[in-house]
């Protein structure tokens, strides 16, 4: 867990004051599959969402211009509102006296390829984990490319798979094996086609300073072969831009590294990467590089820039800004879940500034849905389905969605399969986050967004997907952002903070699904897990026994509050220790689903018997009104 500064500087969205008070804003979120555009305006003195439209993102042929998808989505808004927003394929700015046009146009982008980063040098497991943490909140695909001498010094030959997996009878790294390892790492570099490399490692490692030297040599060799992505631009001084090398290794070799890659790469020295304190520097540099080398090269980006004075930002930057703001503002641990077409993002922000971002590149329910199937296999998908399914049906479903990622599931069966994939996309991302963080805090608030969640026709389906995939513990609240606004509000906050806060409260996080109680510990199926006492504001009292292996929903509507008392079984924990009774100091809020008690245990396991499993899935869905 570490703390990152806000990319836009200062203390977050509310810190920046802007004298301009726009009357209307158009905000576009260009995702990998869909472009969502929302029109915000003043209604009775408050900023509200007035209309929204969606269209397929037009990054690829035949249109190959990201601005076209935005215009198509805006046309839906024009159709709904009767308000003219585009003229001659330009956004009409500012708002006209007749109500046409808007004062501000803001864009966030998650479409496009990730930035490719090679992590080179003496890449120990600890440094590998740190570098993964540094890029975990960014659209960056990193790959470890350790120097051959480091591999030789740290890898016993009988497990050496790098150099072709050969076992040397002499159990010694020969020059021949080292040469093969060298070729392998060069091949990796060629395959990755990096936009930048990060060189890490100190000189006192098992291979000394040699890995740093070898990393430089690999970069030089790859550059000679044209295997590096080099920018075509120039620096402010007019010289051609060179390949960026971020050097976070032994500080005494900075000049030597510069000399070795001279003429090939531009070295940016950083503090040696040894602890989490250095991560934010690396993250900021890579974020900037992503903007320059990926976002600005998206087809249609220049046209987009010509529409607005605000610089488009990446959706993950915007989302992280908002999530951390919410955590501080409400003084609680907030978990945001965004399931997109090619990326699944989970961000955990704590009230003390803790922040665990996880952008899972290539795991999404659109064009990358096949990657989920490949990663988890048929069984993990099929386990969430209350009906038998064949591998052929799932594979055809996947190919259909890879070919037409924008389509919505109009049939109930297809929707359930899609929701099974959504669960696994979230679960895979949770696993990645747990790998990188030693401690993942329990969430007080879970905020869900992304089309797979926001378009779910029943709120109970969203709750069930989140409970199944995230497996939260203790007491938490769930909110669905079904207008898919939260990914953009961080960006809105940089220019119109009042609008961001008001739209967030009025429209983005207004769909509270309910409070969830999730007992954990030794929860035994069929035995009492927790007794729940509810004292409604009107004085009515209810006590419900919830048995292990079940889910119960206690009526508590959106406009209701109640005091909650929990009496867990001796082996069961609700957050204060096994068997410890808990009574809420403040009333809890109701929601669209109600007060949900998930006593299936943590981690919960589905029955192995097929008939029983299907019956359970149907039962849980029925309780939550999800079927």
């Amino acid at each position: 867990m570490y703390t990152q500064p806000y990319p836009e500087g200062g203390q977050g969205p509310t810190a920046k004051k802007n004298a301009m008070a726009p009357n209307s804003l158009l905000i576009a979120d260009c995702g990998a599959v869909l472009t969502k555009v929302s029109l915000l305006g003043l209604v009775e003195g408050q900023y509200r969402l007035m209309a929204r439209g969606e269209a397929p993102t037009t990054l690829k042929p035949p249109l190959e211009d990201i601005a076209e998808g935005i215009i198509q989505a805006i046309q839906t808004i024009e159709f709904i509102t009767g308000r003219k927003l585009v003229e001659n394929k330009q956004i009409l700015v500012p708002e006209q006296p007749n109500g046409d046009g808007v004062d501000l146009f803001i864009t966030t982008i998650s479409a496009g390829d990730p930035l490719h980063l090679g992590v080179m040098g003496a890449v120990s497991p600890a440094l590998e984990q740190l570098s993964a943490q540094a890029v975990s909140g960014l659209y960056v695909q990193e790959q470890k490319i350790p120097s051959p001498s480091y591999v030789a010094a740290t890898t016993p030959l009988n497990v050496a798979v790098g150099a072709g997996g050969q076992i040397n009878p002499a159990s010694k790294w020969t020059q021949e094996l080292l040469a093969k390892e060298w070729k392998l790492q060069l091949d990796r570099l060629r395959e990755l086609q990096p936009h930048a490399v990060l060189i890490v490692g100190m000189a006192d490692g098992p291979a000394g300073p040699t890995p740093l030297q070898e990393a430089c040599q690999l970069v030089v060799n790859a550059a000679r072969e044209g295997a590096l992505v080099t920018s075509t631009g120039t620096t402010p001084t007019g010289t051609p831009k060179l390949f960026p090398v971020f050097y976070a290794g032994a500080p005494q070799y900075v000049e030597a590294v510069r000399r070795m890659v001279q003429g090939v790469a531009e070295v940016t020295p950083l503090s040696p990467l040894v602890a989490q304190e250095q991560l934010s520097d690396i993250g900021s540099l890579l974020s900037t590089l992503h903007e320059q080398e990926v976002m600005q090269k998206i087809p249609g980006y220049d046209r987009l820039r010509s529409w607005t004075s605000t610089v488009p930002v990446s959706s993950t930057t915007s989302l992280s800004s908002l999530v951390r703001f919410l955590a501080q503002h409400y003084a609680m641990n907030v978990t945001a879940v965004d399931v997109g077409g090619s990326t699944t993002t989970i961000m955990l922000a704590g009230e003390q500034g803790e922040f665990i971002p996880m952008v899972n590149m290539g795991i999404g329910v659109g064009t990358h849905i096949g990657d989920i199937l490949q990663r988890v296999g048929l069984q993990r998908i099929a386990r969430w389905l209350p009906f038998p399914v064949t591998e052929g049906e799932i594979r055809e479903f996947v190919l259909d969605h890879m070919l037409h990622p924008q389509v919505v599931s109009t049939e109930a069966r297809a929707l359930q399969i899609m929701q099974a994939f959504t669960r696994e996309a979230i679960a895979l991302t949770v696993e990645s986050a747990q790998f990188q963080a030693t401690e993942v805090p329990n969430a007080d608030l879970i905020l869900a967004t992304g089309s797979a969640l926001a378009h779910a026709p029943k709120f109970g389906q969203v709750v069930l997907m989140l409970l199944d995939a995230l497996q939260p513990r203790g007491v938490t609240s769930m909110v669905i952002d079904n207008a898919m606004l939260i990914s953009t509000l961080g960006a809105v906050a940089t220019v119109a903070p009042v609008a961001a806060v008001q739209v967030n409260e009025n429209d983005a996080v207004s769909h509270r699904l309910g409070t969830c109680v999730i007992p954990y510990g030794d929860v035994r199926p069929g035995e009492l897990a927790v007794r729940v006492g509810v004292e409604y504001s009107n004085g009515k009292q209810v006590t419900i026994d919830v048995m292990g292996g079940t889910i119960e929903v206690i009526p508590l509507h959106s406009n209701e509050q109640a005091l909650l008392t929990l009496f867990p079984a001796p082996t069961v924990d609700v957050g204060l220790g096994p068997g410890e009774r808990a009574r809420a100091a403040e009333e809890i809020d109701g929601g669209l689903v109600g007060l949900i008690v998930d006593a299936r245990g943590r981690p919960f396991h589905l029955p192995t018997n097929e008939t029983e499993r299907q019956a359970r899935l149907l039962q849980w869905a029925q309780v939550l009104g999800a079927n």
Binding site: L34, G53, E54, P56, K60, P61, P62, L63, Q72, T76, F79, I80, E191, T367, G370, D371, L373, Q374, G392, R395, E396, V398, L399, D400, M402, L403, H404, Q406, V407, V408, S409, T410, E411, A412, A414, L415, H455, A456, P457, K458
Partner: protein, 330 residues
């Protein structure tokens, strides 16, 4: 190989295509010069490849000048192969690997899925039942056109008869993967463009509607019947990573390209009265005209609500489908 052009069927279009029948370790030697006008059956390229490289399916010829080595295992035999243009048009350049770039006025059919290298062949429509009927005798080198779904039986018959490619409406995924002996989901997202272009198909496939059991659009079938006997260029390369889709190019005759000839400019925007194809759900593959745009989101049987359109299908009945599920085709 081609990027999406906007509409799956373009009766008049101008293309520039590299004539290159795929494969590794192959060197191309152009047999034409820049600016030269070529006809579809004219040989434009000589390929030289070692014997380990995958052969093409278009008139492989042994090199008469080549003296076989005494030790073929250690010294690969050089095979030569002459490749016809497949297109009528003008040579406008050469690629570094030796491919010949030809500019041509064509009718284009773009498929949804496919596999296999670029081949030239004679368009040969066949409207029998692929499950039950025995395929008639088809001359080798044909591109067989089947208006219905493909079956494994038909594919086997096609291979035996020397067909170089098949254009059909659809194929089930198990049949396709069984035929290719590969994981198609991985193949269409592979990094390796050579792999994507060559695939594993012993013949080149193009499915106009996609995966499953879907009939071919009557417009497509009519166009292909119109060009029966013409030489066409077929590519099955399909890559979702690189946004490449299979295509069939049929060069227009001189009579079809008068002086005032203009290519069609495909417009993908949706409007009232435009012809669309439904690409997913229970109406997948159905063609019709947009009849009405709903102002408010509509609810579907799954409970999902979405912006929707009403489509008047070709049989005169109507269906309501999500806006995102229709694609303009003309």
């Amino acid at each position: 190989m081609t990027y999406p052009l906007g509409w799956p069927l373009l009766p008049q279009f101008r293309v520039k295509r590299e004539r290159w029948p795929g494969k590794y370790r192959t060197k191309g030697i152009p047999l034409v010069y820049p600016g030269q006008e070529v006809v579809p059956d004219q040989l434009v390229l000589r390929l030289e490849q070692d014997e380990q490289a995958m052969p093409t399916r278009e008139g492989k010829v042994a090199n008469p000048d080549h003296q076989p080595s005494a030790s073929p295992a250690s010294q690969p035999q050089i095979l030569q192969e002459n490749v016809p243009a497949g297109l009528r048009g003008r040579v406008v350049g050469f690629t570094p690997r030796g491919g010949v770039v030809i500019e041509s006025k064509v009718a284009v059919l773009q498929g949804v899925v496919g596999s296999g290298i670029q081949v030239a062949g004679v368009v040969t429509p066949w409207s029998g039942n692929s499950e039950t009927d025995t395929m008639p005798s088809i001359p080798p080198g044909a591109i067989l056109v089947v208006p219905g779904p493909l079956s494994l039986l038909l594919l086997r018959q096609a291979i035996n008869s020397g067909v170089v490619g098949i254009v059909a409406s659809s194929i089930s995924l198990p049949d396709l993967e069984g035929f290719l002996r590969t994981d198609y989901l991985q193949m269409v997202y592979a990094d390796d463009m050579e792999l994507v272009q060559s695939g594993f198909a012993p013949i080149t496939l193009l499915c106009t509607e996609g995966i499953g059991v879907l009939p071919m659009s009557p417009r497509t079938w009519q166009m292909l019947q119109h060009y029966a006997g013409s030489i066409a260029l077929l590519s099955g390369a399909t890559s979702l990573r690189y946004s490449i889709f299979p295509e069939l190019l049929i060069s227009l005759s001189l009579a079809e390209t008068p002086q005032n000839w203009q290519p069609v400019q495909p417009d993908t925007s949706l409007a009232l009265g435009v012809l669309v194809r439904i690409c997913s759900g229970r109406y997948a593959g159905v063609i019709g005209f947009i009849d009405y745009f709903f102002v408010y989101e509509q609810s579907f049987s799954s409970g999902v609500r979405a912006q929707a359109v009403r489509v008047r299908m070709e049989d005169g009945t109507f269906c309501v489908v999500p806006l995102l599920s229709v694609e303009r085709i003309a």
